[in-house]
Symmetry: C2
Subunit: 148 residues, 2 copies
C-alpha cells in the first residue's frame, strides 16, 4: 500500500502546514516498514537517504503526522511505540510471541469488547490500534507437541 505522497502533501498544505523533504522521507520510511515501524527504524531509514536529518525531527514529525491522522501510533508493550500509515479501516494486530508473525483482527471483532466495557464501567475505550500477543496456529501446535 503506497502512502500516495501527492494526497498527503495537498492535505498538509490545505491545513496550513508545510511539505518538507524530511516529512516526505519520514512518511516513506514508515511505508517501507510495511506494518509497523519504530522511531529508531524510521531514523535509520531516513538517515540512509539523508544523513543530516535529526532524531528530534523524527519524533516531532511522528507526532505531527499522528495529529494529522496520516499515521497512527501503537504502543506494543515493552515500552515500544510503533507507527504505521493510517489505513482506511481501523484494524488491530495479533502478534505471535514465538515467531513474531503479525495477523490482523477487524475492528468489528474488537468493538464488542469496547462496547461491553462502556456499558459496564462507563469507560470509553478509543484505541485505534490494539496489539494482542499470543501464539499463532503453527506455533501453538509446535508448543503442544513440545510439551508431550
Amino acid at each position: 500500500m503506497s502512502h500516495q505522497r501527492w494526497d498527503y502533501a495537498a492535505l498538509m498544505r490545505e491545513r496550513g502546514f508545510r511539505v518538507t523533504p524530511q516529512r516526505q522521507l519520514i512518511l516513506d520510511a514508515i511505508c517501507e516498514g510495511g506494518g509497523h515501524t519504530t522511531p529508531e527504524e524510521v531514523y535509520e531509514r531516513v538517515r540512509a537517504k539523508s544523513p543530516a536529518v535529526n532524531r528530534a525531527t523524527i519524533y516531532r514529525t511522528l507526532d505531527f503526522l499522528c495529529e494529522l491522522r496520516l499515521v497512527v501510533a501503537a504502543d506494543v508493550g515493552n515500552r515500544r511505540m510503533v507507527y504505521e500509515i493510517a489505513g482506511d479501516t481501523p484494524h488491530h494486530h495479533l502478534v505471535c510471541r514465538t515467531c513474531g508473525k503479525v495477523e490482523q483482527i477487524s475492528h468489528e471483532t474488537v468493538k464488542a469488547l469496547f462496547a461491553k466495557i462502556e456499558r459496564e464501567q462507563e469507560f470509553t475505550v478509543d484505541m485505534d490500534h490494539l496489539a494482542l500477543f499470543g501464539l499463532c496456529p503453527k506455533c501453538r501446535r509446535a508448543e503442544l507437541r513440545g510439551k508431550r
Copy 2:
C-alpha cells in the same frame, strides 16, 4: 487484601534469598497501591518510611519479586510499568489517556474477545495483562463539556 508478609518471608528463605527490610517495605508499598503501583510510587512510599532506600534497590527488588512470582508486572502503555501483588484473579487495565487514572477490567470480560479470536482465526491470545486506553467517565464528561 494483605500480602501476608510471613508467607513471603518463608518463601524467600526457602529459595535461598534473604528477607531484608527493603524487600518488606517494597512489598508493603505495592500492597498499599491497592491495584497497581508504578516504580516511582513504590519509591515514594518506601522513602516516606525509610528515606535512605535507593531507586536502584526499588528496580532490582521489583525484578526480584517478579522472578519469584510474588509480584506481576504489567506494561500499561505510555512506557509505564505497573506492579501488583500476584495471586488475584487475572485482570486487565483501563488507562485514561487524559488523567492517567488506571481502572481494572475482569478477565471474564476480556475472555469473550480472546475466545472469539481463537474461534475465528485459531490464534491463541494468552496475555495476562491487557492495557486499553480511552477516557474515564470524568474526563469523558469534561471533554464533552469542552466541545460544546
